[in-house]
Every structure is written in C-alpha cells, then in structure tokens.
C-alpha cells in the first residue's frame, strides 16, 4: 500500500513526462556540436592513467591471448623477404666468433693442410705486392683509386667501395 492515495498515478505521470522531456531535449541537442566544445585533452589530463594501468591484470590478459593462433596468421616468408640478410651478415663479427669459440679449432682441424697454408701465404703476398705497385702507378698517373673500377661489372657491384689491405693486427 502506498502511504498517500493516488501517489502511484502521480509517479507514473512524472515518469511519462520525464521520458518525453528527455526525448525532446535529446532530439534538440546537436551531439557533434556539443562534442566539439568538450576539451578532451583537459578531460584526459584529469584521468590517472597509471592508476588505471596498475589495475589491469596484464598476466591475465596475456594468458587469454592465443599466441599460437597469432603466429599461424603471420606470413613469415613475407617478413623474411623484407629482411636484408646481407646487412645482417655484414654486422656479424665472424673474426670474433672464430676467436672466442671452438669454431676456430674446428676450421683449423678441417683445413690446416700445409699446402693450403703455403697457398694462402703465396696469394696474400701476391695481393700485397699487387696493391703496392698499383698504389705507385696511381701516384705516378695522378689518378684517384676511387675512380678505378674494382672489377668487371658482372662480378663487382658498381656501388661497392674499394677495400684496401686489411692486415691482421
């Protein structure tokens, strides 16, 4: 029972009036214009983002992610195509790897023939002398080493920079 007679009908009437008024007001308001007047930056600056983030259960989120499914959707071939392998290989310090690992011993064991050692010596000396005479010829002819092609076009890229001796030091 209602404490006052007829109060139920008044409430219903008030509810109906309120719904009607809200509907009319909402129709009359230009939401876009209203949003334009809202200073979003000011609003965001009042939000405690750290607080929000600290309340997020990241581990729980990660547990819910199906990593296998994501990997399945990744086109690995496409990614590899976009990777400049030459650049990566160039950045690897093979000398350091050989010096610091057992790889050096393996290479030495597999290729340490006396003949190959002698060949390396003869060839390296030959190239060294080639460079020596080439440098003198360039000085006498007053030409820049950079202006001379390194090799035939099919064997040497035109953009390659000349490499002089890189003695072991």
């Amino acid at each position: 029972m209602s404490p006052m007679p007829g109060s139920n009908r008044v409430e219903q009437l008030a509810q109906a009036v309120a719904e009607r008024v809200v509907s009319i007001v909402m129709d009359a308001i230009d939401i876009d214009a209203l949003l334009e007047r809202v200073d979003v930056d000011a609003l965001v600056s009042r939000v405690d983002v750290d607080g929000v983030v600290s309340r997020v259960d990241v581990d729980g989120l990660i547990d819910r992610v199906d990593v296998e499914k994501i990997i399945d959707r990744v086109d690995v071939e496409k990614i590899i195509d976009r990777v400049d392998m030459k650049k990566i290989v160039d950045r690897i310090d093979i000398d350091a790897i050989v010096e610091q690992t057992e790889l050096g011993t393996i290479i030495a064991r597999s290729t340490s023939g006396v003949a190959s050692e002698v060949l390396d010596v003869v060839r390296a000396q030959g190239v060294g002398l080639d460079d020596f005479f080439s440098r003198w010829a360039n000085r006498v002819l007053r030409r820049s080493p950079e202006s001379i092609p390194l090799g035939p076009p099919m064997l040497v890229a035109p953009t390659a920079t000349p490499e002089l001796t890189t003695g072991i030091g």
């Binding site: 050989v98 390396d120 490499e163």
Partner: protein
Amino acid sequence: MPTETAVQPIEGRQGHYAGAVSRLVAFAADVGASWGLFTLGAAALDFSVQLVTGGQFSLTKHQLASLIALVIWEFVYFAYQWALSGKTIGMAVLGIRVVRADGSPIGWRQAVVRTVTLPLSFLVFGLGFLGILTNRNRYAWHDRLAGTAVVYSWDARAARLRWLARQESSPTR
C-alpha cells in the same frame, strides 16, 4: 719462424681485377710448368722411338721439329686450360682466373684469341704488359684483343678465417 707473421690475407677481393705481380708470377709458374711437361713429353717420345726403332733418337736434335712441337704444346697448354676452367696451373696457384671483359666465363673463342695474341704483349720489351699497371681495368694488350680480363678467384675471407683459426689453436699463443 713459422709463417704466422707473414700471412696477411686480404679480404673481399674475389672478382676484383688482379694485379701485375700475381699475374706475372702465375705466368712464370706456367712457363716453368709447361716447359717441364714438354721436357718430360720429349723424353718420353725419345724413349718410345728408341724402343720401337731400336736406333738413337732425340727430339732436341731436330731443332725445327722441336720448335714447332713446343709452339703447338704451348698453344694447347694455355688455350685448353683457359677454355676449360679460365685458369692455368700457375693461375690456380696464385688464385686468379681469366673471364670475359664483362665478368662472364671465358669461351673457346676468347681462349684461342688470347693464346694467339699473348706473344704480342712481349713485343717492344714487354710493353703490352704495362697496361696491367697503367690501364684502369688492368688490361694487357692480349686482354684487349681477346676481350678478356684477369680477376682474383681465391676466397681471401676463408684464408683469413683459416689464419685466425690457426692462431687460436696454436699452443704457443
């Protein structure tokens, strides 16, 4: 002393124009190898003729025949090896090879022309070889005429790794 300090391999030279010293040392090695093989062949021929006929025979006593045989042998020695692999025995030792001017493998025509025109570079005190030093592409005369070039073919990087490996595994270090 071992050769440790002597070896200073140079990286990244594969496909680069070979220099004068490597080329001339390779040529000298080839002259030695071809003469040695010719001498062995001539001795084998002398022995075979003596065995068959029973009489004395020596190719070197027949100067004209010996000269013709030597010229043919030298032609075969160089042309055959260049056409087959782009390198002679001496070139293989020095790690260089002959290619066409654009870098593609040499063919029979280039090999034959290069062999025939090689003596031209010896004319006027070897003036034809001076191009190896003065020409931008290190062409000798016979290279120009045959449309060929000489490049390094040895893997200097592998040689450097071998050298490093020897240093690393050496007990004295």
